[in-house]
């Protein structure tokens, strides 16, 4: 009988141990859900202080998973940026589509902060914008997110000459009632061409499990994007950057910075923007 109990508890420990650092005690109730975090959109200044260049590029990153023993991925990205140093092609700013921290702890965000400092000091990429992913919220990670990840909110927008850039908070696997309603209302009032950035994929061609699971919320989002001049949606989360053409707009998956296979890949994307002709092009590296 005793052996049975020992076996049972050992099995339980094996199942739960790997998840402990992800805050398993919050399994049924995570504090500060999306309806409390992200109700109305925050307008933030454009990354360009003076005039917006006609053509520029943006560094796209997703699923960095900073944390002890995790992300070692630096070389590929930094080699690429190094090669651009004496050219005009250096990205003007960077976007990070969630899962910045692996466990949501202070140390993870500290690693991210030093990564951002390196982008700023060595490559002149002054602004690095982030949104929440599911990992960023573990262990009450939202508190650290609001201290370390610019612009310290996860539902916001800014404008450049031709485009509006919308950043959504999908860290809980849903946008929540307030954010969804507010986002659709904002899209309708905005006549500019738009980019939307979200951690959870909308659909991206039948991803099993790693997409927005509520099909009605997804339908409302796709419908709103299709009707309101959205050019592209960029998402992360599944680590494999597939894309899908919905007709009126395209969804691009931004490949994970860490790569599931070796945690060392350092993948990234470059979004080239042509403000004059309202065109863009996305390339994955």
């Amino acid at each position: 009988m005793k052996t049975k109990y020992v076996f049972f508890y050992a099995l339980l420990a094996i199942c739960f141990f790997p998840s402990c650092r992800y805050g398993l005690h919050e399994f049924f109730d995570r504090s500060l859900s999306v309806n409390e975090r992200s109700k109305t959109i925050t307008e933030i200044p454009s990354p360009f202080e003076d005039t917006v260049p006609n053509k520029y590029s943006v560094l796209m990153l997703s699923d960095l998973h900073f944390g002890p023993g995790k992300t070692q991925a630096k070389k590929k990205l930094f080699d690429y940026l190094e090669s651009l140093k004496e050219t005009d092609s250096m990205p003007s700013f960077a976007l990070v589509l969630g899962d910045i921290a692996d466990t949501g702890c202070k140390e993870d965000y500290a690693e991210y902060a030093s990564f951002v400092t390196k982008l700023q000091s060595e490559f002149g990429i002054e602004k690095v914008y982030g949104i929440t992913g599911n990992h960023d919220l573990y262990n009450k990670g939202w508190n650290e997110f609001t201290k370390k990840v610019y612009p310290y909110v996860s539902y916001y927008r800014f404008e450049t000459e031709t485009f509006s850039w919308y950043f959504l908070d999908s860290g809980n696997g849903t946008l929540g009632q307030s954010q969804l309603q507010n986002f659709i209302s904002k899209l309708k009032k905005d006549s500019k061409k738009k980019f939307v950035f979200i951690h959870y994929p909308l659909y991206r061609d039948n991803i099993f499990y790693f997409s927005l699971c509520d099909p009605r919320e997804r339908a409302m989002l796709i419908d709103a994007c299709a009707k309101n001049n959205v050019g592209a949606v960029f998402s992360g989360h599944d680590h494999y950057g597939s894309s899908f053409d919905y007709g009126p707009f395209v969804e691009y998956g931004v490949y994970s910075y860490v790569n599931n296979r070796n945690w060392q890949d350092g993948s990234f994307g470059i979004l080239s923007v042509d403000e004059e002709n309202a065109r863009f092009n996305y390339t994955q590296y």
């Binding site: 809980n172 696997g173 699971c213 409302m220 299709a226």
Partner: protein, 275 residues
């Protein structure tokens, strides 16, 4: 003190403005709602209940329930009304169900075949088709192909388990010309424990990846607690509380909706219609 009062007033004002905006949003959405016309409603009611009107050689259970749902997701609080008819002609069964609410309506058709009956367990095959129309934005067609089992454990405990391959076809009107439908292949399961405590009362608990008229992609779990009360040989009353969560595999779960319903089931033995 004045600053505090100003803060409180300001907060109330902001919240009132937000509430008004929300109301306006839903009013606008409502203008685009698919109105459920009375003919459609009557057709599906007839579809469900017609068998009960006749004296047929199978057992039937007709159920009606009224529920209320409160949500944190896209769902706004609303009431719904559902009707169903469960026809059993051993070893075959057929479930027909409909649900109406303000924004949408659902239809369920679920044939089953219990191919193996043992002393402690039954095993069967099931198909399920679910249709819903959501605002004017989208229609969903869910198809399940799977197995179900009923295991009778000691101490009057019953365990019902079903496991299915799930296909969801979503037709979104605004992209229909370019993408006729979005297809999601996934899976679905439901695990139900039921124990008869007294002769008339049997509580049950369900953990499932779907609910009777709620079909998210895998894995948005539903936790359901319910009570069946058998008033006499024909009438059974039930109440059910279900909590729907988001994505619990990646551990960022949050409650998307809470659902409470009360219902009544009338059993009709074979070769008898509604009297």
């Amino acid at each position: 003190m004045r600053a505090l009062l100003f803060g409180a007033k300001h907060k109330i004002r902001v919240e009132t403005v937000l509430a008004k905006k929300r109301m306006l949003f839903w009013r606008k959405m409502k203008n685009t709602d698919r109105k459920i016309d009375i003919k459609t409603m009557l057709f599906f009611l007839f579809f469900c209940f017609a068998p009960a009107l006749f004296s047929l050689p199978f057992d039937q259970k007709i159920t009606t329930s009224l529920g209320s749902i409160d949500g944190q997701s896209y769902t706004r609080p609303h009431f719904y009304l559902s009707f169903s008819d469960m026809l059993a002609y051993e070893p075959f069964s057929l479930y027909l169900g409909i649900e109406f609410s303000r924004d949408q309506w659902h239809l369920n058709v679920e044939p089953g075949w219990t191919f193996l009956k043992l002393k402690y367990a039954d095993f069967g095959l099931r198909l399920l088709y679910h249709y819903t129309s959501f605002l004017k934005i989208a229609q969903e067609h869910d198809v399940f192909y799977g197995m179900e089992s009923h295991i009778r454990l000691p101490k009057d405990i019953s365990l019902y388990l079903d496991l299915s391959f799930m296909q969801k076809y979503t037709v979104i009107t605004s992209i229909k010309e370019s993408v006729p439908f979005l297809l999601n292949n996934g899976m679905a399961f439901s695990l139900r424990f039921e124990k008869a405590f007294f002769e008339n009362l049997s509580p049950y608990f369900i953990i499932a990846s779907y609910d009777r008229f709620y079909y998210p992609l895998f894995f948005f779990p539903s936790y359901i607690l319910g009570f069946n009360f058998k008033a006499d040989k024909n009438w059974t009353a039930f109440s059910e509380l279900s909590v729907h969560y988001t994505d619990q595999f990646t551990l960022t779960a949050t409650i998307t909706s809470v659902n409470f319903q009360l219902g009544l089931t009338y059993s009709i033995p074979k070769n008898k219609g509604v009297e």
